[in-house]
Amino acid sequence: MNLRQPKISRRKSKWLDWIPLLPFLLFCLVIMVLPLFFMLRGSFTGSEGQFTLEHYAKMGASIYAKSFRNSILLSGLTAILGVLMGTVVGYFICRLPNQRVQELVTALCDVTSNFSGAPLAFAFIVILGSNGVITLAFQKYLNWKIYPTFSIYSFSGLILAYLYFQLPLMVLLIIPAIAGLKAEWREAASGLGASSRQYWRYVGLPVLAPAITGGLLLLFANAFGAFATAYTLTVFRYPLVTLQLGFLLTGEVFRDPGAGDAMGILTLLLMGISIFLYQIAAKRGRKWQQ
């Protein structure tokens, strides 16, 4: 034992020690928790202040149901495509012989996963808008008019624009997992007579599984909550959940506060579950990445 018992470290935390945390906790309560709590309450409160489920029942109406369907479809599809393509690209990046090139490509992913919103949407209008660079190139050299089959202002365009920020995010998620696949495991497997296929089936994929499921969940939430990209491309014309929420917010008078609350709570539930499960997967994945 030390000569002088230090005052700080070895004492137990007492309730008094929680007091300096109050400003922070209060801040989170006022700005984050209370607004969401009142949203929850509002979603169950009718016009007379009585308890009701009518706002949730309204979610079956075509515009809300369509928004949820489109949002889930867009997020799910770009999550699946992002995970598949990101895993392949991440694998090849890890196998690049040149360390510097490897770092450069990873840095590019770091930057591009943050390019989203209005400038990204505009960049896609530049290349794939009705007079975009690629649109014109296709027309001139391949005599192929991509409009109106494809349009950057519709679902097909949204997929392309969303993938732009989904893909590098997945690459960043999968690279540490792939780097965690030790060369010795592969050697040991082949030394014991395992084929390459068996190696992936019983060693490779199980080790990558948490990163892949985690990636699916995180990418889904990432796309579901996005607003600015879709807004810049489609304004409010294409029904998505976040756009619909934004539309309810426009103007000083609320169009339908109860419906907005119900939609908000469902969104929160969907994203909360995705992020929560992602956290579990990420924790599990860290086991292999010391």
Binding site: L21, P119, V126, N222, F227, T242, L268, G272
Partner: protein, 281 residues
């Protein structure tokens, strides 16, 4: 083997093409005289930048976004850093609570946060929701994971208990211990977090539009306005936006390497500092 490497080259090439083309095309578009009827730009010009800079709104929105980003960074440091330090030092029990709170914002889309704040605080007698101050408060919540994670990690990386004890047994006051002993040790974490927050807020469109809207126009709002009015000026705005994101990321990488050297942890370890979560918008 040969076939494999050809395929891998193709895959990485396609990936780079997809990642770089929209950005490079926007840069080119912003200095092209006309580029909507031919494959290559018809000529080069800086006219669109001149038009953009000469617009009186340019200075206003640039300044507004700068003020918002810097205020958010400062507020975020003030709210989060002392709390994270105190929890690490005295209330280890609160760690999991703080971890939970700091990941919650990943599950709250910006438009939802704006909706909640307006519904609660935009009615009399409070009428606070539509002020820039409320916007900064919302931004501190929105970017909390970006600030909290790197700061918490760097607090864990150095033995702050021993440092605090050592400083105090030498007679240093709380304030002085925090300023002169703890702060320099966790500076790389604070800088990483601050840069991420800065870059995120400078490009943030959604919450700003719904909370304050035209009362306090920001750079991204003006960008969106020009995407519908004049694509060439929008391209100049986009280029500036992209450039700020590039520069912040480069400084961030540099800070991460510097921090890794200082705390003698491998750079791979440091890279995990980067909080991964919902970043798309």
């Amino acid at each position: 083997m040969k076939k494999g490497s050809a395929f891998s080259g193709l895959a990485i090439g396609a990936f780079l093409f997809y990642m770089l083309l929209p950005i490079l095309a926007t840069y080119a578009f912003s200095i092209a005289t006309r580029w909507d009827r031919s494959i290559l730009p018809e000529g080069l010009t800086f006219e669109w930048y001149k038009v953009a800079f000469n617009d009186k709104w340019f200075t206003i929105v640039f300044k507004n976004s700068l003020v918002l980003s810097i205020s958010t960074v400062i507020a975020s440091v003030l709210v989060i850093v002392p709390t994270a330090y105190w929890v690490q030092l005295r209330v280890p029990k609160a760690r999991s609570l703080l971890d939970l709170i700091s990941t919650l914002p990943f599950a709250i889309p910006g438009v939802l946060l704006a909706l909640g704040l307006i519904r609660l605080y935009a009615r009399p007698p409070l009428m606070l929701a539509r002020t820039p101050a409320m916007l900064v408060a919302a931004y501190v919540i929105f970017t909390m994971p970006f600030m909290y994670r790197p700061v918490a990690n760097s607090l864990e990386a150095v033995d702050i208990r021993t440092l605090t004890e050592a400083a105090q047994s030498l007679g240093s006051s709380w304030g002085r211990t925090f300023r002169e002993v703890i702060l320099p040790n966790i500076l790389p974490g604070i800088l990483s977090g601050g840069l991420l927050v800065f870059a995120t807020i400078f490009g943030e469109f959604t919450i700003a539009t719904f909370l304050v809207g035209a009362r306090y126009k920001t750079f991204p709002m003006q960008l969106v306005y020009f995407t519908r009015r004049d694509g060439r000026i929008a391209s100049a705005y986009s280029v500036i936006s992209f450039s700020i994101a590039w520069i912040s990321s480069l400084i961030l990488l540099w800070v991460a390497t510097w921090g890794a050297k200082r705390t003698s942890h491998g750079s791979l370890h440091r890279k995990k500092d980067r909080p991964k979560g919902a970043v798309g918008d």
